[in-house]
């Protein structure tokens, strides 16, 4: 063995042995995608609602360019975790580290401006606006013409609108929703809405994309489409993706690493294969009684 292939194997082996904390520079996956260093790290996150602990002392990291899944039974705290990452919830304890710095408590809009885009479990689109307009809202942070320029539709505002419109159209093409560009979102079927929501998030050109159950309630064909899009996004743009999903088949196929949660605790973390064979995870899914 010699050359890059060898070093890759060594790296992979190292990762396998020591869980996920091994290398800082990253590695290349079997299908040739490059996975970089840690981009975000959750350290000892605890989130309470009144007396209920939704998340109990959970730590994990997210690497640049990987697809990271969070799975677990209903009520495990998966969505809460996503809401912590995107700033909709603020944990009582613990730290979020993003790009090597500790992130102070921030509002969701500030976090969105840092390059973290998301979709919601119960689709949160602008129902009254067209698909194109919805996607364009994803570009809002890429526009910096002043309000006066905007009001009078002056130089910079005009140039920006054209550039952003082009980007929005690219995303629309990429997700194959050209034929519904002008349709008000409220009239679309569920599966397409989910895709539009993904388009809006993508339009922001995020570093990290958070997907809360992107395939919930879809039929097999729609699920296949969505899986393909998730993989394509990751592959083409190198976007880091954190995803919550219930469909085990989908999760195991898509993700590089999986965090398993149950009753607010982390019970497993590793590659799909590792997680699949983890006894605690199997118990949680088969519904072994908690003590």
């Amino acid at each position: 063995m010699s050359g890059p292939a060898a070093s890759r194997e060594v790296l992979d082996a190292a990762i396998h042995e020591s869980g996920h904390t091994a290398d800082a520079e990253g590695h290349v996956t079997a299908d040739g995608r490059k996975i970089g260093g840690v981009v975000m790290e959750m350290k000892n996150i605890t989130l309470r609602f009144g007396g209920v602990e939704a998340i109990k002392d959970i730590s994990f990291d997210i690497r640049e360019g990987e697809i990271r899944a969070i799975i677990g039974p209903n009520g495990a705290g998966k969505s809460s975790m996503l809401n912590v990452i995107s700033g909709f919830y603020h944990p009582q304890e613990g730290e979020v580290w993003y790009r090597g710095e500790r992130r102070p408590p921030m509002k969701p809009f500030q976090i969105a401006r840092q390059g973290i885009a998301r979709t919601f479990q119960n689709i949160a689109l602008f129902e009254g606006m067209s698909v194109l307009d919805n996607v364009m809202t994803g570009r809002l942070n890429q526009m910096n013409a002043s309000i006066l320029d905007q009001a009078f539709w002056w130089g910079k505002a005009q140039r920006e609108e054209v550039a952003n419109r082009q980007k929005a159209e690219e995303v629309i093409d990429f997700l194959e929703i050209q034929n519904i560009r002008k349709t008000p979102v409220g009239r679309l079927p569920y599966g397409l809405k989910k895709r539009v929501e993904l388009a809006r998030a993508l339009a922001a050109e995020p570093r990290i994309l958070l997907l809360d159950e992107p395939m919930a309630g879809m039929n097999v064909e729609e699920k296949e489409d969505m899986s393909r899009f998730v993989l394509d996004v990751n592959d083409e743009f190198g976007t880091t993706i954190v995803l919550i999903e219930h469909d085990m088949g989908v999760v195991m196929d898509l993700s590089d690493r999986v965090v398993v949660m149950d009753y607010g605790k982390k019970i497993g973390d590793g590659t799909p294969d590792e997680v699949r064979t983890n006894q605690e995870v199997i118990d949680a899914y088969l519904g072994v009684a908690h003590d």
Partner: protein, 328 residues
């Protein structure tokens, strides 16, 4: 052509022009209601305050003059200069934007996520507070407002209609000016909402707060923007009504005229506010013309409300409002 029909035409025309004014006031409500779910009871007082401020700046009055004189025993009322109308309008716009910022910072920021009724109560409080501030700043006397808008009968229309019908229509130049300005303002607002970044953010916030946050929209900023726009609309309404009948307390009651317009047009629709305003303007004028004499007149005072009530029974969401669908 029968005389009655010619009169009816004149009445309709005047009603239309009046309706534009109603629409203008209603528009201020719709802007805020759409973006934040707040029914802004203070919209009328905002028009009064804006008009008072405009007159005050124009005439070079010292704000809080009475108060200053009481405390320091001085006797100053005027700075001694006069500000040109256009500059005074621009300064008043700045004041209204400042007001929007203060309202957001000290009132509604702290009430995010509260029940609509609580927000509504807050605007009632705001209305009385602003009324007081307006009195304190500029006094409570009736003031003449003159920003150079044309007034009096429009000779061209008078002449043209006289030649066609043998009867000259009485159309006030001020009404025509108001209609033109209101149309430009509404057109501008619609274009702004449709094609600019801020406009898109405004529509996004109006549609879904959570989704707006997730794409990086700062809610506070949008709310200040919306209150500023409502302030500017209030200023324009204040100028029109103030030029017509003087700037005085009753100006704040135009808010009550906007209520039936909103019920007709729907609280969430800008086209609704416009069409609603026109229908009520024409409706009340024609009703007064046709039925008024039989029942002793003064039907303008109540006709709009009766029409609104009928609408509440048969179409509670208004002409253009979002349809109310209840899921069970």
């Amino acid at each position: 052509m029968p005389e009655q029909l010619i009169f009816a035409m004149e009445v309709t025309l005047n009603g239309l022009l009046n309706g534009v004014m109603y629409a203008l006031v209603a528009l201020g409500f719709v802007l805020i209601f759409k973006a934040s779910g707040i029914f802004n009871y203070a919209q009328g007082v905002m028009a009064l305050f804006a008009a008072m401020t405009l007159v005050g700046i124009q005439q070079g009055r010292v704000p809080f003059g009475h108060l200053i004189n009481e405390i320091f025993g001085t006797d100053i009322h005027y700075f001694g200069w006069e500000v040109p109308a256009l500059a005074a309008i621009l300064l008043t716009v700045v004041v209204m934007i400042g007001f929007a910022w203060l309202v957001q910072k000290f009132v509604f920021r702290h009430l995010v996520g509260q029940e609509p009724i609580i927000l509504f109560m807050a605007t009632i409080g705001l209305a009385y507070f602003l009324e007081g501030v307006s009195d304190l700043m500029w006094g409570s006397e009736i003031r003449n407002l003159d920003v150079g808008l044309p007034q009096g009968i429009n000779d061209a229309i008078d002449l043209a209609t006289f030649e066609i019908f043998g009867y000259g229509f009485f159309i006030d130049n001020l009404d025509i000016a108001a209609a033109v300005i209101a149309t430009v303002l509404v057109g501008g607002l619609i274009a702004f909402a449709q094609y600019t970044k801020q406009g898109r953010a405004m529509r996004a916030v109006a549609d879904d707060h959570q989704a707006a946050l997730s794409v990086g929209i700062k809610l506070n900023y949008v709310w200040v923007l919306v209150w500023s726009l409502a302030g500017i609309v209030a200023l324009v309404a204040g100028i029109m009504w103030g030029a017509k009948s003087g700037v005085q307390f009753s100006l704040s009651l135009i808010a009550l005229k906007a209520l039936p317009v909103l019920m007709l047009g729907g609280f969430t629709s800008i086209p609704g506010a416009i069409v609603g305003g026109l229908i009520i303007g024409v409706g009340e004028a024609l009703f007064e013309f046709a039925v008024g004499p039989m029942i002793g007149g003064a039907t303008e005072n109540w006709f709009a409300y009766v029409l609104a009530l009928v609408f509440l029974v048969f179409r509670p969401q208004g002409l253009f409002g979002e349809k109310i669908i209840e899921r069970v």
